[in-house]
Symmetry: C2
Subunit: 176 residues, 2 copies
């Protein structure tokens, strides 16, 4: 990766945010870049690993924090999830310090902020540490004003039409 | 892939349409689905094959029609490009008839319609032939009303903020 890497954000209520981040990671890996994919609130074991196995096959490193979302796991306390999210933040700081990465995806990190597990200022402080050349991609609905202000490129995915009304929920291999 | 496959559309002026389609293809391939990726106006040889090599490595079949867009190749006639797009349409019909495919991406086919190389009714007729189980993904800005009407799931990617204003254009490994 040459020159300055950007901060990209994929947000909005439509389908395609993490999906676009996967596409970005795959494209970058295809150019021989060193790519990491750090997910929040995704549990590859619980939902099958449809998207992660192929990423790993392409040499993209994956890592998961706060795999369980309290919305689905009622026994999880706020503090446990916050602790997991903070662990994720420290892990990402470590990757930044390494300075060998060309692209990092922080998948669903916006959700962590939106739901208060991470404070906006904690993530903004992290962004200050981004190595010059690193392309950083943040996904998740509800990106905060501060994050949008700090980002170079923001895409909002709007749901124009959705088949939930037809009674179709999340489908293996398509939505996860 | 089980039950009925949907028609998905990624449209809008923001970054991430083809990128999301790549992500969809990768995720589906990760579940062992048979996936094809048919692109219009993309020339893997001209722009490097950052996104196509990894797709092929994952067993996703790729195919390219109307690789050159007359916007960039002024010597191309409208009729030549239309012919190429029609060839693409026939090829896709063949894949439909095969009925073994779980997912097909028709990348930038909306552009072909938007610019008149394909007529909306030609693509709508094609959609009538979609096998029941096939998940079909159409990308490109300017999806027509007819296509949106026919689709099950439509995501519009809006450009909220873009670094072109900072003088940053398309970057290898990121935009292509």
């Amino acid at each position: 990766m040459k020159e300055r890497g950007l901060i990209q954000v994929y947000t909005g209520d439509g389908k395609g945010k993490s999906t676009a981040a996967i596409g970005q990671a795959v494209r970058a890996a295809g150019h021989g870049f060193k790519v990491g994919f750090v997910s929040f609130f995704k549990d590859p074991e619980a939902f099958g690993c449809g998207e992660y196995e192929p990423l790993q096959k392409l040499g993209i490193k994956t890592s998961f924090f706060a795999r369980r979302h309290p919305h689905f796991y009622k026994d999880l306390s706020f503090d446990e999830v916050r602790w997991e999210c903070l662990r994720g933040l420290e892990f990402i700081k470590g990757l930044f310090a390494d300075e060998t990465w060309d692209m990092l995806v922080l998948d669903e990190i916006n959700i962590a902020m939106r739901e208060g597990f991470l404070k906006e200022e904690e993530v903004l402080s992290l962004l200050e540490l981004k190595p010059q050349k690193l392309e950083l991609i943040l996904t998740g609905r509800g990106a905060t004003e501060g994050i949008i202000g700090k980002a170079d490129l923001v895409s909002e995915i709007k749901e124009v039409k959705h088949p939930y009304e037809q009674g179709i929920g999340g489908r293996e291999g398509i939505e996860y």
